[in-house]
């Protein structure tokens, strides 16, 4: 229970710091600043990762429910869907797979090349 309160305070603190930075600096959305701040505070051991870990696992498992209300917003756009629904789904489908393929293939090639150079280095040693 103590750990849960600690985690809530830690995350809430980072959300606030993120809002403050976004308000003063502008540029990126506040949640991104908050995320970077959370990472850095953990990295420099200002926050204890051990205390937060189990709460994070719970958040990761359940966070998707937060997207439901925004998704229901689609009922306001039935006309658009009726007229262009197929094109919209088609565009999203194509570009999502394009991106997955480009990044997946390029990164995989890079990793394989790295691994093969590493093995040759090991062999020459």
């Amino acid at each position: 229970m103590k750990d849960v309160i600690y985690s809530i305070l830690a995350i809430a603190g980072c959300v606030l710091i993120g809002k403050f930075i976004a308000y003063t600096l502008g540029g990126l959305p506040s949640s991104l600043y908050g995320l970077i701040c959370f990472t850095l505070l953990l990295h420099f051991k200002v926050l204890s990762a051990d205390k937060i870990k189990s709460s994070i696992e719970w958040i990761m498992k359940n966070m998707i429910v937060c997207f439901v209300p925004a998704g229901v917003g689609i009922i306001e756009h039935f006309d658009l869907i009726k007229q262009h629904g197929f094109a919209i789904v088609f565009i999203i489908f194509i570009t999502t797979f394009l991106l997955i393929t480009v990044i997946g293939v390029l990164f995989e090639l890079k990793i394989r090349r790295q691994n093969s150079t590493q093995t040759t280095e090991n062999l020459s040693e």
């Binding site: 995350i11 809430a12 980072c14 993120g18 540029g27 990126l28 959305p29 506040s30 949640s31 991104l32 908050g34 995320l35 970077i36 701040c37 959370f38 990472t39 953990l42 990762a49 937060i52 994070i56 958040i59 990761m60 498992k61 966070m63 998707i64 429910v65 937060c66 997207f67 439901v68 209300p69 925004a70 998704g71 229901v72 917003g73 689609i74 009922i75 306001e76 756009h77 658009l80 262009h84 094109a87 919209i88 789904v89 565009i91 999203i92 489908f93 194509i94 570009t95 999502t96 797979f97 394009l98 991106l99 997955i100 480009v102 990044i103 997946g104 293939v105 990164f107 995989e108 890079k110």
Partner: protein, 239 residues
Amino acid sequence: MAYTDQLLSVGMSTLLIVCTLGIYQFFALMQSKVKAIWLNPLLFSIIVISAGVIYLKMPFKEYFGHTQLLTSLIEPAVVALGFPLYQHLNTIKRQLSTLLLLFTLGVFIVISVSMILTVWLIAIPEVAVSLSLKSVTTPIALSLADALNGNASITAFAIILAGFFGAMFGPAWLNFINVRSAEAQGSAIGAASHSLGTATINKISYQHSAYGSLALILSAIITAIVSPFLIPFMFYCLS
């Protein structure tokens, strides 16, 4: 009078949030029982709740207003993604330049291709902006959509679809095209399907979730920096 109104509103909010959570939990449980990927709890909750809201003739704004609490939790949830990033910071440090280059390329490709296709097929600027932001995690995409004259709920819908496609077919497709390393799979799905995809591949391995959240974070930052220039530029080229 005002006091009872307020009490009623709080009661209504509680009821709608409990219903939303209950319906989502029901489908989440169903999915873990049936173990079918197509039984996506998010998609099914949206369908059931949309049907309910339409049946009750409740305006969307009312439902959205009463469930604001859930939507506002997206922000702390994004902050929480800093945890897997922290855990793999050292792995990432070595590959930072590769990853930055890769995701910048990805952002340019996805924004330009979806702008071209949308302007060509649908020709509504608002929709073009909304669809080009669909790979970015919701809170960031929504603030970008506002700033760039997109439409928030179309953006939200596009984001969910992009997340849904990537989460559902992404791993199988990557295995099919022989992209098998956890790093490449995680990055590809995180970059294309943001937190929804990342939340789904969390279950495969921790490596997947680390690279997934890394990809989602870096892509979101890059999109936030690039899109205010790239989107107007694409409109200029396409007009």
